[in-house]
């Protein structure tokens, strides 16, 4: 039995108090922290002691001379927060509409048996739409997982001269990851025979990284899956291409381009 296990289970007053002080100071390794955290959730007295220590220690932090972060750090943080809200469907203007599906389900459950049968027939007819919602949900979950990646960075891609004045694009990725999330707003919806295409540039060479469309409000997003870590690419850009995408970008239809390092 380890020293900590002995101290925590069964509790031995002083030893547990020592470990809580060390926990407050971040002087425990990950395994020890996890054990103490389990104990803290079940022991209000231990939790109170920890809170007292954290109040004391916070004074050390508060006494630090402030250092103004670079403005871009705040922009990146809030772009990440906005992208997460976007992925979770927090914005009614941009989000898929699961509440409609919920409403239909509630109608089916609440209706009389005859109406329920009719509603079920309708639901079967809408099966394909249901699958589409499931796919949207899976995509949203994938986006949320991507946004949780440690070391996630947010790069704003400046509008190109040929792009719409309102165009905004952000690319979120962790350098070691091979996937990323592109979010755009202010783009013009395209005709059916055209598509937006995203490019990752490595040493100046563009590589196709997916096509996407935007909704009527000009918002869109794309989960990007690369063949190698995103950190190996230096730039990214968006162009307008024929439907289905192109092997090389049409530079006269450049929307946005910028550094992702």
């Amino acid at each position: 039995m380890s020293e900590l296990t002995q101290a925590v289970n069964p509790p031995e007053g002083d030893a547990l108090e020592d470990l809580i002080a060390l926990y407050a100071l971040d002087a425990l390794d990950a395994d020890d922290r996890a054990r103490i955290e389990r104990r803290l959730t079940a022991d209000p007295q231990a939790r109170r002691l920890l809170d007292q220590h954290l109040e004391t220690i916070a004074v050390l932090a508060v006494s630090e001379a402030p250092v103004q972060p670079i403005a871009r750090a705040k922009e990146r943080l809030f772009a990440r927060i906005d992208a997460e809200a976007f992925s979770r469907g927090d914005s009614s203007a941009r989000a898929p509409s699961p509440s409609l599906w919920d409403r239909i389900r509630r109608v089916i459950l609440a209706a009389s048996p005859v109406l329920a049968v009719a509603a079920l027939v309708l639901a079967i007819g809408l099966g394909a739409w249901g699958i589409s919602l499931q796919q949207q949900l899976a995509r949203a979950q994938q986006e949320v997982a991507l946004l949780q990646a440690p070391g996630l960075r947010v790069a704003s891609l400046p509008r190109a001269e040929t792009g719409p004045a309102s165009a905004q694009a952000s690319f979120l990725s962790a350098p070691q990851a091979t996937n990323g999330l592109l979010t755009v707003s202010g783009l013009t919806p395209l005709a059916a025979d055209q598509t937006y295409q995203f490019w990752l540039l490595k040493d100046g060479q563009p590589m196709p990284a997916g096509t996407f469309s935007v909704d009527a409000a000009g918002n869109g997003k794309l989960i990007v899956q690369a063949n190698e870590p995103i950190g190996t690419f230096q730039q990214a850009g968006i162009t307008v291409e024929p439907a289905g995408g192109s092997a090389a970008p049409t530079l006269t239809a450049l929307v946005s381009i910028g550094s992702i390092e």
Binding site: E3, D14, A15, E17, D18, L19, I20, A21, L22, A24, L25, D26, A27, L28, D29, D32, R47, R48, D51, Q52, H53, L54, E55, T56, I57, A58, V59, L60, A61, V62, S63, E64, A65, P66, V67, Q68, P69, I70, A73, K74, R76, L77, F78, R80, I81, D82, A85, D90, Q148, P150, G151, L152
Partner: protein, 197 residues
């Protein structure tokens, strides 16, 4: 203390902002960021001694604050202590990752102004952190702690060392480190409250 500014009357309290943050109010979180990011970055730089990496850690720390907003309980602790515990943990995490990649180093200024990294396993982290402390009140309180207790707190809080590493550095039994950490924090709390009153 006499209040010389009328601005605080219009400034939302930490408790107000925290409650709104828990309700996913982005604007409130932005105010929290504006209020605390400077102090937080100061602390992270103190621990990591690298401005660029510290900016990244700051972003990660505030992301975690936003993600874990619902775990804040105003009945248990002040918002600042909750926030800084997350910030500190992020900084220490990064420091330990760096340590696992490289041997301990100390930076000195080269004649051309560039920093050189020279391995120095005997660098006295505790004394270095102590010498650079900013807050007068905090410094006075820490000055009154027994040196052995102060060293444990400095090595843990600013040096990012685990209890085992502290015991090895100080060449003391681990039980001694445990006791010094606990007694040091209790005494520091008393000293700070005496100074504040």
């Amino acid at each position: 203390m006499q209040q010389t500014s009328s601005a605080p009357l219009l400034t939302p309290s930490d408790a107000d902002l925290a409650a709104r943050m828990v309700a996913r109010d982005r604007a409130a979180f932005e105010q929290i960021y504006d209020r605390y990011s400077g102090k937080a970055l100061g602390l992270i730089i103190r621990i990591l001694n690298d401005r660029g990496v510290s900016e990244e850690v700051l972003q990660e720390a505030f992301w975690r604050v936003w993600q874990r907003a619902e775990t804040f309980d105003a009945n248990r602790a002040s918002f600042a202590s909750w926030l800084f515990s997350i910030v500190h943990h992020c900084a220490i995490d990064e420091l330990r990752k760096q340590r696992s990649r490289t041997a301990p180093t100390v930076e000195v200024d080269a004649p051309d102004g560039e920093a050189l990294a020279i391995p120095d396993p005997n660098i006295d982290v505790a004394e270095s952190a102590w010498a650079n402390l900013q807050g007068d009140q905090v410094k006075r309180a820490l000055a009154q702690l027994p040196e052995a207790q102060r060293a444990v707190i400095m090595l843990a809080y600013y040096g990012g060392y685990t209890r085992q590493e502290i015991a090895a550095r100080l060449n003391e039994p681990i039980g001694t480190v445990h006791t010094r950490a606990r007694l040091g924090l209790l005494k520091l709390r008393d000293l700070l409250s005496n100074l504040q009153s």
